[in-house]
């Protein structure tokens, strides 16, 4: 199901919630989910209403891209861009599971064409370019399409003089596209820089988990870096670090709170406050434009 389809389905049946993207619409509300934080069982319908934050322990569960967009964008304001961009298999990667199979099952599981959804939106009336990554799509890894969509997002934002908001999640670069994936790091970083050099604002929201080539490129090049509570954020995954140093990791290593303490992110903002917070923040980052207009 494409984003457009999803939104139009949502228009038709208001009671179908964002969580449904990953499951047939008619059973969605009946799904029970186990909280990763406290292990308690949660009712998906209610959970989505609470922005997928556990009412028992406050744990922030993963959101799908459509859910996230719904939670941030003013109703009806989101217009998807570049939805025609689809992944190919440039290296004919066939080790273990062929890449084409991985893509097919990711597509089926998520209802998305790729790991990032980009578009124009308004947040509290402020026009922005918005990108949201979806971990269900091959761990929201960055291949050619993710890189290209992010680069275009920054370019379109630069042309239209709009702020960029990106909600990240990623396991890193997509290895099945080899060096094409790695080079997306340089491409997206360069695009972000050009947008910044034009004096425009970029706010990044790092959600659980954001790692590797995404963290080490566009994700952290924002003017203000926000992390969600408890989100795991880093360059190298914790298992790799543990293997490398051959000792246990310190408690809380690579959590949002750890990143805050180590000076890497500006703020840890609970999901329930995120939208309002972005509106206030954008007020500052657009002050010059607002004065000029």
């Amino acid at each position: 199901m494409s984003i457009a389809d999803w939104f139009s389905a949502r228009e038709r049946r208001r009671y179908v919630r964002a969580g449904d993207v990953s499951v047939p619409a008619d059973v969605a509300d009946g799904v029970w989910v186990k909280c990763d934080g406290c292990g308690k069982t949660l009712y998906e319908g209610e959970l989505v209403e609470q922005l997928r934050v556990c009412r028992h322990c406050g744990h922030h569960l993963a959101m799908t891209a459509p859910q996230r967009i719904e939670s941030l964008a003013d109703e009806g304001s989101f217009e998807e861009t570049e939805k025609g961009l689809t992944p190919v298999d440039p290296l004919s990667f066939a080790a273990a599971k062929p890449y084409t199979e991985s893509l097919a099952s990711a597509r089926e599981k998520s209802g998305l064409e790729e790991a990032v959804v980009t578009g124009r939106a308004r947040i509290g009336g402020i026009p922005v370019m918005l990108a949201v990554m979806d971990f269900r799509f091959i761990g929201a890894s960055m291949g050619s399409v993710v890189g290209e969509k992010i680069a275009r997002l920054f370019e379109q934002a630069t042309a239209a003089r709009l702020p960029v908001i990106i909600v990240t999640a990623s396991g890193g670069a997509r290895m099945q596209e080899g060096m094409f994936s790695l080079m997306q790091m340089a491409k997206t970083a360069a695009a972000a820089k050009r947008h910044s050099d034009a004096g425009l604002a970029y706010v990044s929201v790092l959600t659980n988990p954001t790692y590797g080539g995404v963290t080490a490129s566009f994700a952290v090049l924002a003017d203000v870096l926000i992390a969600e509570p408890g989100a795991m954020i880093g360059f190298a995954g914790p298992r790799l670090v543990e293997q490398t140093i051959r000792q246990k990791l310190p408690k809380g290593f690579q959590t949002a709170e750890f990143m805050l303490e180590h000076g890497m992110v500006d703020e840890v903002v609970p999901r329930a406050e995120l939208r309002e917070h972005l509106v206030t923040l954008l007020g500052y980052l657009r002050a010059r434009q607002d004065r000029a207009s």
Binding site: G84, L85, T86, P87, V88, P90, L91, F93, A94, A95, A96, K97, G143, S144, V145, G147, E148, A151, A173, R174, M175, E177, G178, M179, F180, S181, L182, M183, Q184, M185, A186, K187, A189, A190, A192, K193, R194, D197, G212, G213, T215, A216, S217, F218, A219, V220, L221, G234, F235, A236, L240, V241, T244, I245, L249, P250, F253, H262, G263, M264
Partner: protein
């Protein structure tokens, strides 16, 4: 000389060679049958040598790229440049010896030189963390990039790292942020950037100083989004399938030219650059001179636009 480092893929050849060497130590004058066998063995060895080295598979090349005697950044710096001045430190935390940064002159061309820096023995490898930088290394590199940009000095970089170091302190000091900032900065320097893959090109840790206006790969250097071992680990829950992974990743010099990532391959002597480094240095110098000749006439903003256009073209997708 230290004991020769034998790579996995050359083991059959080396075994035959040592058998032949043993035979040759015997007095065979009275044994024409054995003499014939020796001569046959020598021929067999010659055939195998060609077979082994002339058609190296990706995994064999990865082994060559990691060969301990393979010429390293320091060797290129010494061989190619005069008036070398190394700069140190990030002016905030420390000096990372896994990154070389400094000034050097090739012929009459004054340049800024960057490179990953592996050691030559245990002691220097520990100091240089086996060529895997910490964030302060990338921040030192950024200082060098800013100097190059400010003073109009072209940048040449030598890639040779298994990757940015995945340790606790590296994470604590912002490995990801340092790499990201380096990428952004390098994309915008208004001077030519010529990159040489001379050994290992491990992922983001190589890329942070590893893209520009030209990417020139040594024949047995690799450049990859992930190491073959880690790729194998993820795909097969077993690092033993690295050979298969190496083939799938299209990470060798010739493959990278074929898919449009690299511009050019510098050929190495049979068996690898460590067998005879001098002509490799010369070829790298010549390639550098050619690249600079093509690039130095361009204005800074032109270089930046073309560099961005190069990046923008990388990626394959349907639409």
């Amino acid at each position: 000389m230290a004991r020769r480092h034998i790579m996995e893929f050359e083991r059959p050849l080396v075994e035959l060679e040592s058998k032949l060497a043993e035979l040759r130590r015997l007095d065979l004058t009275g044994d024409p049958q054995l003499l014939l066998e020796v001569s046959a063995l020598a021929e067999e060895i010659e055939r195998l040598r060609r077979e082994t080295y002339e058609h190296l598979d990706p995994w064999a090349r990865v082994q060559i790229s990691r060969h301990p005697e393979r010429p390293k950044t320091d060797d290129y710096v010494t061989a190619l440049f005069t008036d070398v001045i190394e700069i140190h430190g990030d002016r905030a935390y420390g000096d990372d010896e896994a990154i070389f940064a400094g000034f050097g002159t090739y012929g009459t061309r004054k340049l800024v030189i960057l490179g990953h820096r592996k050691g030559t023995d245990t002691k220097s490898n520990v100091r240089r963390n086996f060529g895997s930088p910490h964030p302060e290394g990338y921040r030192k590199a950024m200082r060098a990039m800013r100097l190059a940009d400010k003073f109009g000095l072209p940048i040449v970089t030598f890639l040779d790292t298994a990757g940015a170091y995945p340790g606790i302190e590296a994470e604590e000091r912002g490995q990801a942020l340092a790499i990201a900032e380096s990428l952004a900065l390098l994309s915008g320097v208004r001077v030519p950037v010529v990159v040489f893959g001379i050994g290992e090109g491990g992922s983001g840790g190589a890329l942070a100083i590893g893209f520009g206006d030209r990417l020139i790969m040594l024949e047995n250097a690799y450049y990859s989004v992930i190491s073959p071992e880690m790729c194998s680990n993820i795909l097969y829950k077993d690092p033993g399938q690295a050979k298969t992974a190496a083939e799938c990743l299209k990470m060798t010099a010739d493959e990278l030219v074929a898919i449009g990532i690299a511009d050019e391959v510098v050929r190495e002597p049979l068996g690898g650059a460590h067998r005879d480094p001098a002509p490799v240095f010369e070829a790298v110098g010549a390639a550098l001179a050619r690249a600079l000749d093509e690039l130095v006439s361009q204005e800074g903003h032109e270089l930046v636009e073309r560099r961005y256009a190069r990046l923008r073209e990388i990626g394959e997708y349907g639409s």
